[in-house]
């Protein structure tokens, strides 16, 4: 489903991702962990081309892209890639001028050109999945953080992407609201959706991840099952990081 080969990314002269190689099969969940500034967000944003990798190859489904500094990406490739991916942001980025259901309908109407009534039905179905059907008419400011993030998830899955990306979806939330969002994500994983999740929620990672990568300083330092990375790692950097986030295990 997702493959990256020798992928790297620089901002100006600062190299943020170095020679990233990874593979994720359809239906699997990949969790990315690592200290602040290690490049997790950048890696995730490269997958849907909110950032353009500087070098390397990437394929999502049947779409293959090659990056090098000289060539600009084709607009059609960018749009095609974004149709295959959905993203859930750390600070939700809901549309404040639209109600919950309108937020979820937005992509259906504007991108997929779905008829409005049909889009509303589909959007309500998505809200039901994240347990928010009865809040469909609320504006984002009328919802709690956890509810807003669940709308964010509904908005992403409404487009039925092949690959779902989550960037620290619970780290802006009060602790008591984290659970409801993680539960919605677990349900998606159980449905067999392919997901890439940046998170510091170790318990979630252990339960849900098929694969974990630990990043540091733009490199994938370690890669394996949750058991391998969280319990059996002998890598100093991994252990140092894990002892810092141990509270979440």
């Amino acid at each position: 489903m997702l493959q990256m080969t020798h992928l790297s990314k620089s901002f100006g002269s600062v190299q943020v991702l170095r020679d990233i190689n990874l593979r994720l099969e359809k239906g699997k969940v990949l969790v990315i962990v690592g200290p602040s500034g290690s490049g997790k967000t950048t890696l995730l944003r490269c997958i849907n081309l909110l950032e353009t990798p500087t070098e390397g190859e990437m394929s999502v489904g049947d779409l293959q892209l090659h990056f090098d500094q000289g060539t600009k990406l084709r607009k059609s490739d960018i749009l095609a890639l974004r149709k295959r991916t959905g993203m859930v942001f750390q600070s939700y980025h809901l549309f404040p001028h639209r109600t919950a259901v309108e937020n979820v309908m937005e992509g259906l109407i504007t991108v997929q050109k779905t008829d409005k009534n049909q889009a509303r039905l589909q959007a309500l179905e998505m809200l039901r999945k994240v347990g928010l059907e009865e809040r469909a008419g609320a504006y984002p400011f009328q919802l709690s953080g956890g509810q807003q993030q669940r709308v964010g998830i509904a908005r992403a899955i409404a487009m039925d992407p092949d690959l779902l990306l989550f960037d620290e979806p619970t780290s802006a939330l009060d602790p008591e609201l984290v659970g409801e969002v993680l539960n919605a994500m677990k349900a998606l994983a159980a449905e067999g959706r392919t997901m890439v999740v940046v998170t510091h929620e170790m318990k979630f990672a252990e339960e849900v991840a098929d694969k974990v990568i630990f990043m540091d300083n733009g490199l994938i330092v370690e890669e394996g099952t949750p058991e391998q990375v969280f319990r059996q790692s002998t890598n100093e950097r991994t252990q140092a990081f894990l002892s810092r986030v141990k509270g979440n295990v």
């Binding site: 974004r82 149709k83 991108v111 487009m159």
Partner: protein
């Protein structure tokens, strides 16, 4: 006030109002609507990635903001005939005011667009929208809310500024008050009277502005 003054005051009300309805208000409305369209395109040109377009837009704003409106009106109405371009007073005033509204309005709209968080664009892009779709569906509706108070104020200013059209022979309200003054020689009375009518118009508009802003309050920016 003497009886004569009261009579002049009462008799002047109708012609002044007529000039207001026939010239001042249409002049302000037409110029504002056209000016807003121009302002939007100018703002978009300035934030577009295309350099030549952005440069043209900046040049236009620079010229209009750096010269007095009355001088611009004189150039259009008295100056252009020298090169064979003769424009009637009313359309000449519309052109002048439109260019002015377009330049100042573009600054307001540009600032409003830039004030919308980057995350809104990215949320649209992540859904697969193009830049244009993101602008139309998410950014402009929110920018409109940000820009409304300031644009409404410029409309109110414009209503008053239309009095400058008196200098290029548009028989709007102020011009009409001057004509009546020339007949009766009651400058204080008539200029205060016309001032009161401007005040009335602007008060109605301020009320409308407050209503419009309340309408936008149904959602909060977050």
């Amino acid at each position: 006030m003497s009886d004569r003054q009261i009579q002049i005051f009462m008799e002047s009300l109708l012609p002044l109002f007529k000039a207001g309805v026939a010239f001042t208000i249409p002049l302000a409305l037409i110029s504002f609507v056209l000016g807003m369209i121009l302002a939007l395109f100018t703002a978009l040109a300035r934030i577009s990635g295309w350099k030549p377009l952005a440069l043209i837009a900046r040049f236009y704003v620079w010229i209009i903001r750096g010269t007095p409106l009355i001088v611009q009106l004189f150039i259009i109405f008295f100056g252009l005939p020298k090169v064979g371009i003769v424009i009637d007073p009313f359309p000449a005033a519309v052109i002048g005011f439109t260019l002015s509204v377009g330049a100042y309005g573009s600054e307001t709209i540009r600032a409003a667009i830039l004030s919308i968080p980057k995350g809104q664009w990215e949320a649209c892009f992540a859904l697969g929208m193009t830049r244009w779709q993101a602008l139309k569906r998410a950014v402009l509706p929110q920018a409109a809310r940000v820009a409304t108070p300031s644009l409404a104020s410029s409309f109110i200013s414009l209503v008053k500024d239309t009095s400058l059209a008196a200098t290029i022979m548009v028989t709007e309200m102020f011009q009409t008050s001057q004509q009546i003054t020339a007949t009766y020689y009651e400058p204080l009375l008539l200029y205060v009277e016309v001032a009161l009518i401007y005040l009335l118009f602007c008060s109605v508009l301020s009320y409308g502005q407050a209503r419009l802003e309340r309408r936008f309050d149904r959602y909060h920016a977050i």
